[in-house]
Symmetry: C2
Subunit: 452 residues, 2 copies
């Protein structure tokens, strides 16, 4: 470590508190601390550290905001944690091209604060204020992927430090290209196992002239999902369409004081566009909601009301946690073809109810993605086991119905077993790629794609 | 070949006419015939043939409609051409999920004919009636990528036969997933060099309630491009926005009898949505065009008029060819950040004019992609050389301005040199992947990523 200190600009920490703070994300996996933490200041620092570790045969684990849920940052075999949070510069913004270049340690909220007066914004919003590098590494998305896509779609190019410490650039600035293998998409979702993302070229979007939000309550969850199917089929451009189930609504009503609302399945919606487009979209959506058994579309008429609505949605996790103070929680992440969504949610809810464990459900329903938060008493002997079994069933059911075990949280440690069930023989191709690019298995070893 | 005949369902042809017909696409590269052509009937046929070739150390070249432009199907080292055109079944359509599964030899037009009465469609339209497998292999797009994306965006999953003859499935049916490496995107654009695509899971879209098209003429090409920049910045949802330069317009007016139009830079536009949204979009766009020096927005009021407009656009290539009968043509494929587009087009046109070679230009201007068709007399001693030098300059300028040498045609043979200039050190990572997955370099050898 002393040798490394002389070669990087950033700080190198080996104290227990720093190491422990970098040994876990926000999931349930136990802390596994790295041996050292390097606070990289630029791509050269990252490259220097990786070369140093390659020579010494030491694992490298990249770390952004530490908000991943599936054990992506745990140092399974010790090694050096590369903390990128000091690499938080906005390198370039082009409003004409609707793009920007940023360092990987910048958070999504910091980027939007920087863009605030430029008329453009970066839409993706995973629950946490994650770093953009971490969001790319886990292929994250959030509530408005239905309109703006996921990190897969919004990243134009990357700077990556390879396992041998070379700095390469992938992709470019154009909206499309047919030039060679799509390395950008290969690194997106690879969770640091193929290299470390140090910079990102990102699409931006013009701030919509008008934003309108509202909610609609349903007696039946199936009806709510069916309404969304019709909206999507008709090509109606919703920016957000989120489902909260009866239990989640009960929790939110209590937590976020949504007194006049009922604890029944509810869609939260948002529309972006010109005033005429938003008005027309609202009219169409209102009709579809009504035809599918929904109550009145309750619009948020002021910006304050709209913010309150989305604050309640973003606080859904905390609202659900408040159902059972002192309990731990597991968030599932199944994503299915939308025609299977109502069925999969219904089955998940039936199993959860039968388990007796407290739970609540939110869904990025336009994408077919839903999260059930399953709560358990950490002091109970079998609570965690029952919660994990339930989560496993939900992931397996998703796969059986043509879906994925993870819509946006990633594989990390937590879903390795599921990856096999989901991707079968193609795992071997993933393994060939991993071994070709990182033959000594030093890049975040044990994550995403396990080696024999 | 006799041995292979006993193991595949499809026909195995070794006659010279069939081999020659499979030794070239639609580009200028000379015919290089394979030793045999296998007309695969299912994934098993493809797998059997690939296993047979792997054992014999014989190259395999996949072939769809033979419409690629960069020498993607030339059998540089002989070998077996896998013709997938008999694999043209639609395997499944889900209107609820807006997706379908098809065999790779199905053409885009055949897919849309199949979907005609279902209220959904597949939007991407490269110039040719290509197969969907070929479109994925070259990462193709067309005139409406600005709204619907490219093959990168519209493919949800693939069935691929690997270089060792294993049949794997990548991706899935969901709109998003964070499960493992993005093999789907790796195979898209890999031009058969990593495996053969045999089936595709594709997104579909609801047919818009209303479609409206029109055109607008400009004195200045810069003004036309600037109008498009404003349209994009404001987030106005255009389905198509195509630029034709003065020379292309002169050619189209003659070829497609567009008598009242002037031979000046022209935007062809199309809007999709509800009647109210189309009306509002039209109003906004009309204002932007006018504010940027455009003439009146001339709407196609009937479906017949609209079809005539787009027929003229799709015939632009033949119109330009008709400028110089008997000449050959090279189509460039530069794609740049849109802020650089006017500059790059202006410079390309100046060089082309100075060269004295006939030429014309069309652009998928919403994507920053433009094609200059450069014509030359094949009987002239230096015509082709001058045309190629001009094309090279256009690609190089694109790269210098943060763009790509190919927006949608691919690398094949024709742009190998450019790939190096564009992607630098990252080529080494592409090479590592190629060697890991196809260590004997038998999959379409010599294309996309050259090995030392």
């Amino acid at each position: 470590m002393d040798e490394l200190r002389g070669h990087v600009r950033g700080r190198v920490a080996t104290d227990a508190a720093t190491r422990d703070a970098h040994g876990r994300g926000e999931g349930l996996h136990e802390t596994m601390a790295p041996d050292a933490v390097v606070f990289g200041e630029d791509s050269d620092d990252i490259a220097t550290t990786i070369k140093f570790c390659a020579k010494a045969g030491v694992p490298v684990i990249p770390f952004g905001a530490g908000t991943s849920l599936e054990g992506q940052v745990q140092a399974l075999r010790g090694g050096v944690c590369l903390d990128l949070s000091a690499m938080d510069r906005v390198l370039e913004v082009s409003v004409d091209d609707l793009d920007c270049r940023v360092e990987a340690g910048l958070t999504r909220e910091a980027l939007n604060a920087h863009l605030r007066d430029m008329g453009v914004f970066f839409p993706l919003d995973p629950g946490a204020n994650a770093t953009l590098g971490g969001m790319a590494a886990t292929r994250a998305s959030g509530t408005n992927a239905v309109r703006y896509g996921t990190m897969r779609d919004i990243v134009l190019g990357l700077t990556v430090v390879t396992p041998s410490g070379e700095i390469i650039r992938t992709g470019g600035r154009t909206r499309k290209s047919s030039a060679g293998y799509d390395l950008t998409r290969l690194y997106i979702g690879s969770e640091g196992t193929l290299g470390v993302i140090t910079e990102l070229q990102l699409k931006l979007f013009g701030i919509p002239e008008q934003i309108s939000a509202g909610l609609c309550q349903f007696i039946s969850l199936e009806d709510a999902v069916n309404a969304v199917i019709v909206i999507l089929q008709m090509g109606i451009d919703v920016a957000r369409v989120e489902l909260l189930d009866d239990r989640q609504m009960r929790a939110c009503i209590a937590y976020s004081r949504l007194a006049p609302l009922q604890p029944i399945p509810t869609l939260f919606l948002e529309f972006h566009g010109s005033p005429a487009i938003v008005a027309d979209t609202t009219t169409h959506v209102r009709g579809i909601l009504k035809a599918n058994g929904g109550g009145a579309l309750q619009l948020a008429h002021t910006e304050e009301d709209r913010n309150k609505l989305w604050k309640a949605r973003h606080d859904a996790y905390w609202a659900a946690r408040a159902i059972a103070p002192g309990f731990d929680g597991i968030a599932t992440d199944a994503c299915v073809p939308i025609s299977k969504l109502a069925h999969c949610i219904r089955e998940a809810k039936a199993e959860a109810s039968a388990s007796g464990l407290p739970h609540a459900l939110v869904g990025h329903v336009g994408d077919g993605n839903f999260h059930m938060l399953i709560l358990f008493d950490p002091k109970s002997a079998d609570g965690r086991g029952r919660a994990e079994a339930l989560a496993l069933n939900i992931a397996r059911r998703s796969i059986r119905h043509g879906g994925t075990c993870t819509g946006e949280h990633g594989i990390g440690l937590g879903k390795l077993e599921m990856l096999y069930e989901e991707h079968g023989e193609s795992i071997e191709v993933m393994r060939q790629i991993k071994l070709a690019l990182d033959p000594n298995n030093l890049m975040n070893p044990g994550k995403t794609i396990p080696l024999p």
